[in-house]
């Protein structure tokens, strides 16, 4: 009934409209002339009291009685005034300002506490922003368009000879393109390189550019439109079609100075003229190309064994690469049924889909998730710690709080003030953290090997990262502001007042709360430190890992000799021989070698069979010059190295690695055995080998070396693959595009320019490309480990310090509270040991439980990071033991320092301080 009435009255009250200007006037008056209003109010209440007294006196009471009765009737004066203040217009804004001012004063009064809290929070927030920015740039916004995130690369596996082919023939591509349903569309492409020349004389000299011949539909499937000109049409994409080229923004920017007049101009690729018709958008950098030309497939092509096309598709929206597998399986069955008769390799055919985005990013994604989890844990530890410290401070301020409650402040008002204070703290930390994030992004990104970041990726501190930092900061502020706020509002005036007076009695409930907070901190810190420990061990395993070669002091580069200029094998041989002769005599160079595929690059596979063994297999295949093994430092295990005598006129020879010998000649001496080499195919689809067979004799066995085809640390645990090496001078089939390895005395990068000059001295039009040190190539093996190592290390250190600060605070507080008691006990003859026990009895169980829970939590959680570990199990006993020791020692030091103070107490002083 009451509510009905009140609704009636409120509505009628609303009928009478008071001018907005009047309310605004009151609002400003309330804020700006607060002192005067308060004075006014005070006088008004006092005058009320006086009038009451007058009334009582008039009715015949004595002055004293009148005073007492009047006071009783009036009630609590401060409470009345507080209530009046609360109904003033604009009161929320006004007290908000007041809280912020007050909060600042408190932060400044405890600079140590404030700066530690702000810095740890800022570290957490800054790291979150950096990690999220990397995740966003490298993975979430992998490509320029959403379609680029759904690119699925197809491989085919032939069960018969267990080979996996990354390439398809034109009829195979047409079959798939016709039958699929899981994709927006499929497209085909072919990699090739070309020497680019244009009419304008370019200061950089001739350039070797990656060219991708691609089907016309790819551009629309990717959802891109050129920023200038147009892309080629299906009409142009036919055999004998017009020679048109689409240039990437990267090349346009680097080589043509973003000249819009390039459209319609002619460029020469391997001396064939192409008309530039379009420029791709800035970030479109698919398949490593700098120039796209039409693939020009023959629609009626029926040669199924000419497999040189890379086939990929854009999965339909919401369909993952994995989800296309069932359909691909069904398509494989259809192809097998239809063509299996004529093509025996189709027996048991399997199509394999690969999520290109996941392949590129590899373990980096897992690492970023791990680090984000770690930084969240750190944030929890930090906020638990700050909550604990604020709680302790709230207790220290119990007297002040009690007074304010007594004079009429509501618990809600006090709670709001505490919240303001902690939100203020986290807002400062948030701003600082974001600056830190912007500053640290590039140094941190430099820890990730370049191979893990897609070419299209554009990584910068994103607005989303900013929003997340702020959200995290404010959430944390509320989280740790709430603890003391709840604590205060639960306790009445009396309890708070009592708290302010007592010196020797400990509040068991607050103690328990604080103990629990520190226990949680210890447990979480333990997990973070164990993760860091596992990463340290992984890093040590990786850096001390035997790669099978020595990556230091080797400069690598590639040279592709154009066919129109070097038509015969003897021309290319002469060029490379001359290059190596000149380079070897250069100051600072100790040796030079050439190879078809560099170490650490998956490279080409070659089918082979061993006479007398029925099965055909495939192995990694390289053609090398004799100095190859000396340059990369791979030792010989048996037989001999290749020599200059293994030339075109000598016996056809080959070397194999240890793994090859073990797999194919298990209990025999491989030396002198023969291998029949069949067709060669390149993992990149680049140079297609000739279907040329040759029989070679094994003359030497070298040590295994690491191959990393994918970007996963776990792959390092797999045994090396079988490898075959043949002398370049005997196998020049694909010898037009070679990698050169230059062993140097000083830092290899310094020799890049001298080496380039050597090349230009032989042929002033010949470009070199893909110049890298072997160390850079080998770094891919480190994967995201360095990133994890550094960040987890920082997080672990911070977690350790934070947890110890929590422990330190507990003991310091106990010591401060019980100084009096300690004094009495010491006066009565207690020894320092007894005192230590007395003041640490709260902290000791927390430490013990923290270690136990920490071990348990670590065993449960570190399993999740096992994918990033190498050479150490996730439940590594030594790491757990080590971390337990570190944490226990630091914790004991943290409690000993304040505890010792208690033993130094002078009984006389302690007793007097009451």
């Amino acid at each position: 009934m009451e509510t009905d009435f009140s609704r009636h009255f409120k509505r009628s009250a609303g009928d009478v409209r008071v001018a907005v200007t009047y309310r605004l006037y009151r609002f400003w008056r309330n804020i700006l002339r607060k002192e005067q209003l308060d004075r006014d109010l005070d006088q008004e209440v006092h005058s009320y009291l006086d009038l009451l007294i007058d009334e009582k006196v008039r009715s015949g009471k004595s002055r004293d009685d009148a005073l007492q009765e009047a006071r009783l009737e009036l009630g609590r004066m401060e409470e009345i005034k507080e209530n009046v203040r609360d109904i003033r217009i604009g009161v929320t804004v006004e007290t908000g300002f007041q809280d912020v001012r007050y909060g600042f004063r408190l932060l400044l009064r405890n600079p140590g506490f404030s700066s530690v809290a702000i810095l740890t929070l800022a570290l957490g927030i800054g790291s979150t922003a950096v990690l999220f920015s990397i995740l966003d740039g490298a993975y979430i916004h992998f490509g320029q368009t959403p379609q680029a995130n759904r690119v699925v690369l197809l491989n085919q596996r032939f069960t018969k000879d267990k080979s996996v082919l990354v390439t398809f023939s034109a009829p195979e591509y047409f079959d798939l393109a016709r039958l699929h349903h899981s994709f927006d569309g499929l497209f085909a492409l072919h990699h090739s390189g070309a020497t680019l020349a244009e009419r304008i004389e370019h200061p950089g000299g001739p350039a070797q550019v990656p060219v991708v011949e691609i089907t016309a539909n790819a551009f629309s499937l990717y959802g891109i439109t050129p920023i200038l000109g147009r892309v080629f049409t299906a009409e142009e994409d036919r055999p004998g079609g017009p020679k048109v080229a689409v240039v990437t923004y990267r090349l346009w920017n680097a080589r043509f100075g973003r000249d819009p007049a390039l459209i319609g101009k002619t460029i020469k690729l391997n001396s064939i003229s192409y008309t530039v018709i379009g420029i791709t958008p800035r970030r479109f950098q698919q398949w490593g190309a700098d120039i796209y030309t039409p693939l020009g497939l023959e629609p009626g092509a029926n040669d199924r064994s000419d497999r040189r096309l890379t086939v990929a598709g854009i999965a339909k929206e919401g369909v993952s690469a994995e989800q296309t597998r069932p359909e691909l399986q069904y398509l494989a069955r259809r192809i097998e049924a239809e063509y299996g008769g004529a093509h025996s390799e189709y027996a048991g055919l399997v199509y394999l889909p690969f999520d290109v985005r996941a392949v590129v990013v590899g373990d980096l994604r897992i690492a970023l998730y791990l680090l984000l989890a770690a930084v969240s844990t750190l944030a929890l530890i930090t906020s638990a710690n700050i909550a604990g410290l604020l709680l302790a401070r709230a207790k220290a301020r119990a007297g002040e709080i009690a007074t304010r409650l007594a004079v009429g402040a509501t618990p809600a008002r006090l709670a709001r003030q505490f919240l303001t204070e902690s939100v203020l703290l986290s807002a400062i930390a948030g701003a600082l953290g974001f600056l830190l994030g912007i500053w640290a992004l590039h140094p941190i990104l430099a820890l990730v090997p370049a191979q893990y970041i897609g070419e299209e990726a554009e990584i910068h501190t994103t607005p989303a990262a900013f929003i997340i930092s702020i959200a995290v900061a404010v959430t944390l502020g509320i989280l740790f502001g709430l603890a003391p706020a709840i604590f205060i509002s639960r306790r009445g005036v009396a309890a708070n007042l009592r708290e302010s007076r007592t010196r020797s009695v400990t509040d068991s409930r607050a103690g328990r709360v604080r103990g629990t907070l520190v226990l949680v901190e210890m447990t979480l810190a333990f997990v973070v430190i164990v993760s860091a420990g596992l990463m340290v061990r992984t890093y040590r395993q990786l850096t001390s890992m035997d790669l099978g070669f020595r990556p230091d002091h080797v400069l690598t580069l590639r040279i592709a000799l154009p066919e129109w200029k070097y038509p015969r094998e003897i021309d290319t041989t002469n060029f490379f021989r001359e290059f190596m002769r000149r380079t070897k005599s250069h100051v600072g160079v100790t040796d030079v070698a050439a190879t078809s595929v560099r170490p650490m690059e998956g490279g080409a596979l070659r089918h082979f069979s061993i006479p007398g063994q029925p099965e055909r297999s495939a192995a990694y295949y390289r053609t090398v010059t004799p100095a190859y093994f000396a340059v990369i430092g791979t030792p010989l295990l048996a037989g001999r190295f290749l020599t200059e005598q293994d030339g075109p006129l000598g016996t056809r020879v080959a070397m194999i690695n240890e793994r090859f010998a073990r797999v194919y000649f298990p209990n025999e001496d491989p030396l002198g055995k023969q291998i029949r080499l069949d067709e060669i195919f390149d993992l990149h689809g680049a140079a297609v080998g000739l279907n040329q067979t040759s029989v070679v004799e094994i003359v030497g066995v070298v040590k295994d070396s690491r191959q990393i085809a994918s970007r996963r640390v776990q792959d390092l645990s797999y045994p090396a693959s079988p490898e075959i090496y043949t002398p370049l001078w005997q196998h020049r089939e694909a010898g037009r595009d070679m990698a050169l390895l230059v062993k140097t005395r000083q830092a290899p990068a310094l020799l890049a320019d001298p080496v380039r000059r050597q090349v230009l001295a032989i042929d002033h039009e010949q470009p070199i490309y893909d110049v890298r040190t072997l160390k850079e190539l080998a770094d891919v093996a480190l994967g995201p480990t360095r990133l994890c190592l550094l960040l987890l290390g920082i997080f672990a250190g911070t977690a350790l310090v934070t947890a110890c600060v929590g422990l330190y605070a507990i003991v310091s507080y106990t010591v401060a509270q019980r100084t009096h008691e300690v004094g009495i006990r010491m006066a009565l003859g207690a020894r320092p040991g007894d005192v230590l026990r007395l003041v640490t009895h709260e902290a000791m169980p927390v430490i013990a439980a923290g270690l136990i829970f920490g071990v348990a939590a670590s065993l449960g959680v570190t399993r999740l990071m096992s994918r990033l570990l190498y050479g150490v199990p996730a439940n590594d006993g030594a790491t757990l033991l080590g971390v337990t020791a570190i944490l226990a020692t630091t914790a004991l030091v943290a409690i000993y320092i304040p505890a010792r103070r208690a033993t130094k107490v002078d009984p006389m002083t302690a007793l007097r301080c009451e």
């Binding site: 009451e2 009435f5 009140s6 009636h8 009255f9 409120k10 009628s12 009250a13 009928d15 009478v16 008071v18 001018a19 009047y22 309310r23 009151r26 006014d40 109010l41 006088q43 008004e44 209440v45 005058s47 009320y48 006086d50 009038l51 009451l52 007058d54 009334e55 009737e73 009036l74 009630g75 609590r76 409470e79 009345i80 005034k81 209530n83 009046v84 609360d86 109904i87 003033r88 217009i89």
Partner: protein
């Protein structure tokens, strides 16, 4: 109605205050005593509820205040009805009459 009841029906207090100052301007204590008088002692308004109500109604523009001299020669703050306040009083009086009529007839009905 028990006078010890801490909070009057919301709205009722406002109406009573408006009524009390409708004839002449009064200070806080005067308003409290006037309400006791006109309700035959049924309502006794304590300072704890009176002050917030007075200030709220002043913020709302129904009352205006000024310092003056009390009958015992003390400085006191006097409240008087503003124009919007008078309109409010009329509106609330009408409202109240309708409701009390409705309630009385509801209670008399058997």
């Amino acid at each position: 109605m028990a006078s010890s009841r801490p909070d009057l029906l919301q709205g009722t207090l406002d109406l009573l205050i408006l009524k009390a100052v409708a004839l002449e301007e009064l200070h806080g204590m005067g308003i409290s005593r006037r309400i006791g008088q006109i309700t035959n002692g049924t309502f006794e308004v304590k300072a704890g509820s009176l002050f917030p109500a007075l200030h709220r109604m002043e913020e709302a523009g129904w009352l205006s205040s000024s310092w003056g001299q009390s009958e015992t020669n003390r400085r006191a703050k006097f409240y008087c009805l503003t124009k919007p306040g008078r309109r409010q009083l009329e509106a609330e009086t009408d409202q109240w009459k309708r409701i009390s009529l409705a309630i009385s007839s509801a209670l008399q009905a058997t």
